[in-house]
């Protein structure tokens, strides 16, 4: 993984060209896909987009199954309601409604797929390192990082709190009403504890110089290059063109 010197990493490196890309590039592709999916409309174009920016990279990264599974899971609730609404309450024929619905569902799936692909193939630590490499100040990334990194901590905390309360007789296997009453016992220590932890972490990061102006020493640098830089600007360009065409009403899709 490292372009400078090999440092031990707890998780095995995904050995695929997609994983080797600069995390910033993967981020730009993900955000670009989401933006493009919002602008494009036709089923053909959306499918092409999904294939190009989600399915192909996912296959290269050997994450196709997981990406499909998680995107479907994510998109399912919204997708189902869209289909139902559009087929049953379509102003035109049910067939037209179905067509419309398919377009919307495809859009949701593409956006979900882009997000899932990014999440599955990019670790928070490497994204942060890449952003630092590209000059994004720590304070800016701090908030996002803190939020994202807290999720597993929160889950772990919730698990411990649940065990402690179950040990005191809180029934999490019983009927729904009893479970509802126990909610405060589970929620309060979890949430309040997590908030206290954020405060502690803020202090700890400050004292360890995280908010110092200037760039920290990077222990790892991403594999960036002129091709990727070109590609990132290219994505931006394509997006601008799409938006302009959309506004001008001449979008082929």
């Amino acid at each position: 993984m490292s372009a400078t010197a090999p440092l031990p990493s707890a998780r095995a490196q995904g050995a695929s060209p997609w994983h080797e890309l600069d995390p910033l590039t993967r981020l730009v592709v993900a955000l670009g896909t989401v933006a493009a999916a919002l602008v494009l409309g036709g089923i053909v174009c959306l499918s092409l987009l999904a294939a190009l920016t989600v399915l192909v990279p996912a296959a290269v990264a050997r994450e196709l199954r997981e990406v499909l599974r998680l995107s479907l899971l994510l998109a399912l609730p919204l997708g189902v309601s869209v289909v139902v609404v559009n087929v049953l309450f379509s102003p035109g024929t049910p067939a037209e409604g179905a067509l419309l619905a398919t377009g919307v569902v495809l859009r949701i799936l593409t956006m979900a797929g882009a997000a899932v692909l990014f999440y599955r193939t990019t670790r928070p630590a490497e994204l942060l390192a890449s952003l630092q490499y590209h000059g994004v100040p720590s304070r800016a990334t701090f908030v996002i990082h803190n939020g994202a990194a807290m999720i597993p901590r929160l889950a772990e905390r919730a698990r411990e709190v649940t065990e402690a309360q179950r040990a005191r007789g809180l029934d999490t296997e019983g009927n729904l009403l009893r479970r509802g009453r126990g909610l405060v016992a589970l929620a309060a220590p979890t949430v309040l504890g997590a908030m206290a932890e954020v405060e502690t972490r803020t202090l700890a990061l400050e004292t360890r110089g995280f908010t110092r102006p200037g760039r920290p020493t990077l222990l790892w640098t991403p594999h960036d290059g002129p091709v990727q830089r070109l590609a990132r600007w290219g994505v931006l360009l394509v997006l601008i063109v799409l938006v302009l065409e959309h506004l001008a009403g001449v979008l082929p899709c």
């Binding site: 905390r157 065990e163 402690a164 005191r168 007789g169 296997e173 220590p189 504890g193």
Partner: protein, 272 residues
């Protein structure tokens, strides 16, 4: 009076870590034992088996003769009160009283009886003046005592206390030592998990040492902390209590507690 029994218990976590390996342990009804071991030795994993939070991969856990596999956690919580280590992952009540009452009220104890238990326990644990206080306003020691009071309030026949003295000041530790003795005198079965060897030696008569999921020593504190066992203790990542070390240097035999040192020196002086 309730016996706790583990028979050939193995437990492997989903990620493949083998946490318990062929554990055989009988805790006779109305007795107390200390469970010690280094980080990762399996102490807390074992504790979680006693109230069903974890189920053995193989082997059997029995509480009061009944296989734990036949009971839910909520049911087992009526027999085994387990107090975890971290107060901030348990306390949620707005007052000390609410917090202590939670367990008994969940057991269906009447409001009056529950309050009776709250008053009695608060007083024994030094929280008598704090019933209306918000737990966040108490210091670390009283918060910890609060979590212990909350579990004791359930009046289960078996108590398992996970690191009951961490974060306590000296007076707090004294209180816990007294409480454990009182519980045993009252016929409860008590299992204490601790890395504080001094507390262990002062409070318990039997010590069980876990090393990487296996029981490697099981005996009285005199036996387990005697000099010939120190290599085994150190191999398990533990150090004998200071009193044992001092007593050995003075040539007094096995003196796991300060009282033992004083006793041995007194006898030696009397013989001269």
């Amino acid at each position: 009076m309730t016996e706790v029994r583990l028979e050939a218990v193995d437990f492997t976590y989903p990620d493949g870590t083998r946490a318990l390996d062929g554990v055989d342990l009988v805790v006779p009804a109305g007795s107390a034992l200390a469970l010690v071991g280094a980080n990762g030795s399996g102490k807390t994993t074992l504790a979680r088996h006693l109230n069903g939070l974890l189920r053995p991969s193989s082997g059997r856990v029995a509480v009061d003769g009944i296989d734990a596999a036949e009971r839910t956690v909520a049911q087992l919580a009526r027999s085994v009160g387990l107090c975890f280590q971290r107060p901030d992952r348990q306390i949620f009540g707005r007052t000390v009283r609410d917090e202590i009452e939670f367990g008994p009220r969940h057991q269906g104890v009447s409001s009056e009886d529950a309050f009776g238990r709250v008053k009695a326990l608060a007083s024994r644990l030094g929280l008598g003046e704090d019933l209306g206080a918000h737990p966040d306003d108490l210091g670390d020691t009283r918060r910890k005592l609060l979590t212990i009071a909350s579990v004791l309030a359930m009046e289960t026949p078996v108590f398992v206390l996970d690191e009951p003295t961490t974060g306590l000041d000296a007076r707090g530790v004294d209180r816990i030592e007294h409480i454990v003795r009182e519980l045993v005198e009252a016929g409860r079965t008590v299992i204490g998990i601790s890395h504080d060897m001094r507390f262990v030696a002062e409070t318990f008569e039997r010590v069980v040492v876990l090393d990487r999921g296996r029981i490697v020593l099981d005996g009285t504190t005199e036996e387990v902390f005697a000099e010939d066992r120190w290599p085994a203790l150190r191999g398990a990542g533990l150090e004998p209590p200071e009193a044992a070390v001092i007593g050995t240097r003075l040539g007094l035999g096995s003196t796991p507690t300060e009282a033992a040192i004083v006793g041995a020196l007194t006898s030696r002086a009397a013989r001269r």
